[in-house]
Symmetry: C2
Subunit: 213 residues, 2 copies
């Protein structure tokens, strides 16, 4: 490690080479054998975003989720995000149809909606998705309450997303909301348990949007 004791440091400065080596390490270390190829491609990018090859063991998916999410994006579907960090992490040039990336959390109507509905701002923000929900790609990377609320909206008939990437993080409701998503009949990709978050979720969108590594 002498090369890292002080500057000048000896490190790889070529972005393409960094990507190549990163993905090669992930493919060498992660146990991707049980995954369909298109899910494995998405998993590699999710692992890249969090540095944890054991993420695979918590992955769950419906058989058509990647295919259907990809088709929806190609057809121009919006990506509906629960958090600005998720929206911020989506690489716009990877999107196939200049798709709209929507996050309504900071809409000025949301605080009052949250108070009226007796729920979190993250969940209340989904009220503003109603006219865009049908056929959309939903990317929930932060709030369990947003994922629960999504399932309620779908059950009420507000519209059916083409696919739901349900990867909220944390200690209260995250595991439960992801379990509920897998039982909802919606096409889904989840990371079971407490792990998740905006970086992993945005990485999943980026991998689905464009197959290029």
């Amino acid at each position: 490690m002498t090369g890292f004791a002080g500057p000048p440091f000896d490190y790889i400065r070529d972005g393409a080479e960094i990507y190549r080596r990163s993905f090669a390490t992930i493919r060498a270390e992660a146990d991707l054998d049980g995954l369909p190829p298109e899910v494995a491609q998405v998993a590699v990018r999710m692992i890249h975003a969090c540095g944890m090859t054991d993420l695979v063991r918590d992955l769950a998916w419906s058989p058509q989720v990647v295919t259907r999410a990809r088709a929806a994006l190609r057809a121009g579907a919006p990506v509906l995000c629960d958090a600005e960090m998720v929206a911020s992490g989506i690489t716009r040039r990877r999107l196939p149809a200049d798709n709209e990336v929507v996050c309504t959390l900071n809409d000025p109507r949301v605080p009052e909606l949250a108070e009226r509905l007796g729920t979190t701002r993250s969940a209340a923000a989904l009220e503003l998705w109603r006219d865009r929900l049908e056929g959309s790609v939903v990317a929930i990377g932060n709030a369990p309450t947003a994922l629960f609320r999504l399932l309620e909206l779908v059950a009420e008939g507000a519209g059916r997303p083409a696919a739901v990437l349900g990867i909220p993080v944390g200690f209260v409701g995250a595991a439960e909301s992801k379990l509920a998503l897998t039982r909802s009949g919606l096409d889904h990709l989840v990371v079971h348990g407490r792990r998740g978050g905006s970086a992993i979720t945005a990485a999943a969108v980026n991998a689905i949007a464009c197959e290029r590594e």
Copy 2:
């Protein structure tokens, strides 16, 4: 789990209660005993952002890092971020002095700088930090090359940050760049190894900016 088999779901909708239970779970499960109180407070929020109580075992810090970073923010220091997702995750209302949150990655000058310097865009973007580096709070949550470049700039005399939150993620250079930071003499907070990322990094900034949980 019958309450999660289908809507209506039985889940906590009160944001303050969700926070309270989350932080109580973290404090009950995470081994915070070896941490100074002000580092423990920051660690709790970092764990909250990633869902992993074992993050503690990879934490390293210089004794004064939280105190100095907090003092710098109160004095109006900018927060210099390597990625838009880090900037996006910083809760502006927690900042004590309406501090500027700076991310230069998407500055139009950066692609040419990267080509000229033979490095990544993430590292080249730091050239545009030179006049703000002295006394700043640096938050690197994505790119190891940005952290290496920061250490080079400091060694060249470009300015000395008050504190560096060095939490890049990944498989190429992340562990090495964080090790180099801990040996640099700069006040630092790191998560050793491959783990890290913009959510954990933004959470550290948010915890330092404001002690309220």
